[in-house]
Subunit: 429 residues, 2 copies
Amino acid sequence: MSTVSSYQTGALSVPKSAAIAQMSMAPARHRYPLFPVLTEGCPLASTTDIQFPLEIEFALNRVSSDDFRGMASKQDRYASLLTPVVAELYLGEGYTPLVSADRALGRSNSSRQQIYIKDESQNPTGSHKDRLNRLTVSAAVLSNSPGIVVSSSGNHGVSAAAYAARAGLPCILITMPGICPIYMRMANAYGAAAVAVPAEMRWPLMRQVVAELGFHPVSNVTTCHTGHPFGPEGYKPISYEIAATLGCAPTAVFVPTGYAELLFGIHKGFVELRALDLIDTVPQLFSVEPAARGPLALAMRTGADIGCVEALPTDAAAIACTVSSYRGVVALRDSGGRALTVTDDALRAAQSAMSRSGIYPELSAAAGLAALKQLLAEDHAFDGPVVVVQTGGGVKDPESSDVSIPVIDPTWPALRTVLSERYGIRVCS
Amino acid sequence: MSTVSSYQTGALSVPKSAAIAQMSMAPARHRYPLFPVLTEGCPLASTTDIQFPLEIEFALNRVSSDDFRGMASKQDRYASLLTPVVAELYLGEGYTPLVSADRALGRSNSSRQQIYIKDESQNPTGSHKDRLNRLTVSAAVLSNSPGIVVSSSGNHGVSAAAYAARAGLPCILITMPGICPIYMRMANAYGAAAVAVPAEMRWPLMRQVVAELGFHPVSNVTTCHTGHPFGPEGYKPISYEIAATLGCAPTAVFVPTGYAELLFGIHKGFVELRALDLIDTVPQLFSVEPAARGPLALAMRTGADIGCVEALPTDAAAIACTVSSYRGVVALRDSGGRALTVTDDALRAAQSAMSRSGIYPELSAAAGLAALKQLLAEDHAFDGPVVVVQTGGGVKDPESSDVSIPVIDPTWPALRTVLSERYGIRVCS
């Protein structure tokens, strides 16, 4: 079994990790050493119908609960419950703020029910994906990989490119034609070699890069989603941070959900806090998918391990999956959670409400608020604090609403007209 | 004199502030009550040639140094040394990470000299301006203003729009034709009424909005830059956070400089830490302006209070000023600092170096690194930690370098060609 001392880190510094094994999420729970990283899912349990993801086993008895008390935003404070991180790859990910959702919900701040937004857009590249890529790119470095490869047309790829740059590793970003120019510009800035190929060719080409060059894949390479075994562990600090800020576990957490890596990581984080006796209960998780797809919601309805749906159109690109991951089923089942879906119209309304409260999410990132609004409209009650995860900023959003700014005569009457139209402010001349 | 108890806050919550007066920065140091906010500079000392800014006086004996120890990222932890903030306006600003600059400088991490980047792009709207606007928009709320008005074609306006949205106040954003579409989209998302007028008409129109509607101006309205008296105080926590993370004051801080509000705020923050006996020395500050302009550098060379330069072309839009502010002279003089300038080519090289290390700044935000690289190339030595402030993210940067992503045949030979060109990776087929 690998231990910290066996990593070939050269001059790199690796804080202490209590990770001890890769463990299959299949019912048989096969165990494997921590390295090499099994990026193609559990070799023993997977079939052509379902590939089972792996999660990481930690020696919780080696973790000090002191690390999890208080609010300190110290670099790699939570390293013991992460897979081994390379200290030098730190870009400031994590420790995102928890801000009130009152204005976004049109409520007064005197409401009894505490509802917060966890703003993941305040990560280094503007989304929660930075938490994952710190771990997956660290895994590439610790595996002595000559480079990384990622298939993505959004936040995941941009984030992987940033961490690859930090590691000094080549990064191949495989995307589709028509990728939003802002993502292109960022990937280029970080120095990635980005190429666009037809959508269905992305994964075969990615697997070829892995096979031919030995590059480390930091996004999924299997038919069902198994993803990188280390990735979801990077989301656990979201839970640690929430509990530290609130002083307790929330009652419910709403999570925009694509392949459910975030959902699973948040659940596992709370489970660990309970195991460390730092919280009393594990919150109920609500996954939120676009109504046009919703493979996890389908799996939950049918009792299947995996849901598979038609690719009906939705603008929520970041969470528009046609196949769900087994991780999602596990997180909802074990937290007594629920799979919710929201229409694109509801997403747009929530995006606007959140933006008008000063927090500008990309369309998909408004899913949590959209679903919560639905439940609140149905008089659903929560008996403790509720957290909505805002997964990424709107600044990169290809969905740009009206961007015209009127060029006016530089006169008071012209400005008055704009104010009257926009705010109904009427001023006598 | 205004005290906290006199604010008409309604149901709003205002953490305790030790701010007691507005104080003229003119040599005579006239004092005024904290409210009304003197947004047109010192009324007694200003002339048509120079308008003197105001800063805020604090009762340091009412501040507990305990608030400034440790690393806790608690909402409004530093409120005692800020002007009164409305708790409800919190968007998660501040507590930005301090990350190693080693890779951006092409140094190994074993270098003796510690050099860090303070990444202000990880603020709610992606720049340091959020720290300022939390305070200026709080001032608008506490002044019972019916709205806010800002003149900006960049980060300042977008940030003001977000905090106005948070406050539920109308926001008039006066900009120029040709503003970068990303700023436009953000301002619209936050619900601002944005209008474009010819550049020279922005301030007259802004003054008219103030006069006719009583809107609170959160950007400068005077000929020389005086700015909002409360604004620069919002930058002081940058210094508190740096000192808390390092456990000491840095030796030098490099600051991209336009109107020097940031420079002054950082200096004042360290001066306060020394007054509270939390650090031993105040760091030397280096202002960094574009070589094509550099009004502060001119003022320092000539010993003038204000520098005024021709509007020669530069792409560093966020720091492309033709007139300097008196605050800048004070900050450099009192810190034994220096006014540096960098060419656009040096900015582009630094922007690229920083991006290739995983931190993507807008062009102006690379100024600190560009200037530091110049000094290091001249064998300038520092006898302690050095901090470079990265003021804002490149994602909004209108200066987009090459954004083309090649659409390739989804074949291995086609990808090999890209890899060979980009990274020099050659693979036999």
